[in-house]
């Protein structure tokens, strides 16, 4: 009778049955790791060394696109563009002989690891040895892949690429604008999410009504907002309604409303699926105790459904964070700009795509922690620690 309880608090770890290791598979693993490490760590070290002791702009860099032609009489010289020194270091590092050596070394080590790993893994007597042999081979594949990408990368016009994407000098003094942009993106995303969740829960309840007259408008709403592009919704609500009807909404406010309306449609479907996934017996039990339909929903069904839909809802939220960038079509004041708009404006004025690199970093800074959160919540729900799933 108490067994269920005893198992719940059980933290005994199972025995490790992977068995001992051996020198051969371990060295395969070592070679594989070395292959990947040489090409990744080595390249980074080269970049750092060039950045610190690179020694300035070379004529090759200037001629290759990091300089502007200056004609004085019959003589043609090159004047370095803004940020050229740093860019030249990046390019020189990639093109250096040391980098070539690293690439060759990585390919050789990779091939050794792949060939030896795949040929011996079947004969390994323990799980641990087999895993080490296989992992070594996989690391070799990774190492060669990175090396091949670098070779391909070096074969192109590195100076132009670096000037367009890695000229961090152009970002100088833009930190404040980027932080404002991130704040606005977060406000738009959270505002849209919160509005969307409230609206979605109501819509979900309506779509579950047994009266078609109640269901039909909710379904129509959901289908409309899921069926038209978000960019169309933003444009029509702002240019069509807010401006056209002379309603007193700013572009930012309109966008907040549209994101809520759009998110409401998507989260309604998530909630509906969550509510329908709760066993029918729960509703029967609640109704049998004399609860009304709404009481049963509120005290029995929705609390369970909400826990089940947390992962898909967070998923929708991550999508919304990125979709807030569509607000760029509305034309925002400087203080209202979101992250993408800031980058877009920077690009327009400088014609330098490094702004978009910074934008990506900004979005990742917001979304990566959230994705981590989603994963850990999913894991917690799966492991049944909340006492909800698994019943």
């Amino acid at each position: 009778m108490a067994t269920a309880e005893a198992h719940l608090g059980d933290t005994e770890t199972p025995p490790d049955t992977r068995g001992p290791s051996a020198p051969l598979p371990m060295s395969v693993l070592g070679v594989g790791i070395a292959s990947l490490a040489v090409v990744c760590v080595g390249s980074v070290v080269i970049q750092v060394l060039y950045a610190l002791f690179g020694g300035g702009i070379t004529q090759e860099c200037l001629a290759g696109g990091l300089g502007r032609q200056v004609v004085t009489g019959t003589r043609i010289t090159f004047a370095p563009v803004e940020g050229a020194r740093g860019l030249c270091h990046i390019v020189s590092g990639f093109n250096s002989g040391a980098e070539t050596t690293l690439i060759v070394l990585a390919v050789v080590l990779g091939i050794v690891a792949i060939v030896s790993g795949f040929s011996i893994y079947r004969r390994m007597p323990t799980k641990r040895q087999r895993n080490q042999a296989l992992s070594g081979a996989f690391f070799g594949v990774h190492g060669i892949t990175v090396a091949v990408v670098l070779v391909w990368f070096r074969s192109g016009e590195l100076t132009t690429f670096a000037r367009n994407f890695f000229n961090f000098q152009v970002l100088h003094g833009e930190l404040g604008a980027f932080l404002t942009g991130m704040r606005n993106t977060i406000v738009l995303a959270f505002g849209g999410e919160i509005g969307g969740i409230v609206l979605g829960l109501v819509l979900a309840m309506l779509t579950l009504s047994k009266h078609k007259v109640v269901r039909a408008p909710a379904r129509g709403y959901i289908n409309f907002f899921r069926g038209t592009p978000l960019i169309w919704q933003l444009s029509v609500f702002y240019f069509g309604f807010a401006l056209g009807l002379r309603l007193n909404f700013s572009a930012f406010q309109t966008a907040l409303i549209v994101f809520s309306l759009n998110m409401g449609a998507y989260s309604a479907e998530v909630f509906r699926a969550g509510i329908q996934s709760i066993e029918h017996g729960q509703m029967e039990a609640a109704r049998s105790l004399g609860m009304t339909y709404l009481q049963a929903m509120r005290y029995a069904i929705v609390p369970q459904a909400v826990r089940r839909v947390i992962p898909p809802l967070l998923n929708e939220f991550v999508i919304l964070i990125k979709d807030t960038s569509l607000i760029v079509v509305l034309g925002l004041t400087v203080a209202q700009r979101d992250l993408f708009s800031v980058g877009q404006d920077g690009y327009s004025s400088s014609f330098n795509a490094t702004f978009f690199v910074a934008v990506a970093v900004g979005y990742l800074a917001i979304t990566l922690p959230l994705i981590r959160g989603v994963n850990s919540v999913e894991e917690r729900l799966r492991s049944g620690l909340t006492g909800v799933v698994g019943l």
Binding site: E284, G290, Q304
Partner: protein, 246 residues
């Protein structure tokens, strides 16, 4: 309406699920203080009949009376009626996100509008009656099937129902857990609770039942004293069924 101790009366109940005619004209009357046991092979309509009594299944045709009032009438406040008719399900249907105590108090507070302290007091009292006082703060997932089913019984009893329905409550239990649930039910019967029990436990039916219905293909085939029916069934179908299960 007529008999003073008549609690439930079913008049010509028919139920269709789509084209499936599950109940084909049921007329029974249930008296207070009795234990009515319904047996029959699966698909005979016994669970549907039971669920018709608290209107979890709405009869396609026919009328249901509770304490002389027609509760199948569309104007009836079904929620109010259900507070007087408890039901225990085969799959317990406890609320997994609430503790054992909350499972019992939630309806007391939200439906019967009891104060939280009164509700808690009654819930603890009810848990004690099924021998689970020490599980009040546990979640249903931490309990064995038998314990969960006893909590479900306590939850139904806490509403102080006039009638308690049991829908194959031991069918989902491991054999060694069946007895604790049957013992709880036997105790209730001894205390005079009116019960309608759909079951496959023939020993319980014979021993605790004061009246037995045998159902087949949506009809009541045999209706009478359990011991008599078990020892000398009149209908051929009853004879055949009993020869298989006894």
């Amino acid at each position: 309406m007529n008999g003073t101790d008549e609690l439930v009366r079913l008049e010509d109940i028919h139920k269709w699920f789509g084209g499936n005619h599950v109940l084909r004209g049921i007329d029974i009357s249930i008296e207070g203080g009795k234990v009515l046991v319904i047996i029959g092979r699966s698909g005979s309509g016994k669970s549907t009949l039971l669920r018709t009594i608290n209107l979890l299944e709405e009869p396609t045709q026919g009328r249901v009376f509770f304490e002389g009032r027609e509760i199948s009438d569309i104007r009836t406040n079904v929620n109010e009626v259900r507070t007087h008719i408890g039901i225990v399900f085969q799959s317990y249907n406890l609320f997994p996100h609430k503790t054992v105590l909350q499972n019992i108090t939630i309806a007391l507070e939200k439906v019967l509008k009891m104060s939280p302290s009164d509700a808690k007091e009654r819930a603890l009292e009810q848990l004690a009656s099924v021998g689970l006082s020490n599980k009040a703060t546990a979640h249903p997932g931490q309990l064995s099937g038998g314990q969960q089913q006893r909590v479900a019984i306590a939850r139904a009893l806490a509403m102080r129902p006039k009638l308690l329905l049991f829908d194959e409550v031991t069918s989902a239990l491991d054999p060694e857990l069946v007895k604790e649930v049957l013992d709880t039910m036997r105790k209730l019967a001894d205390e005079g609770m009116t019960m309608v029990v759909v079951t496959h436990e023939m020993g319980f039916a014979r021993e605790v039942g004061t009246r037995l219905l045998f159902m087949d293909e949506g009809r009541v085939v045999e209706d009478g004293d359990p011991k008599e029916i078990f020892s000398s069934p009149k209908d051929e179908r009853t004879k055949e069924f009993l020869s298989h299960v006894l």
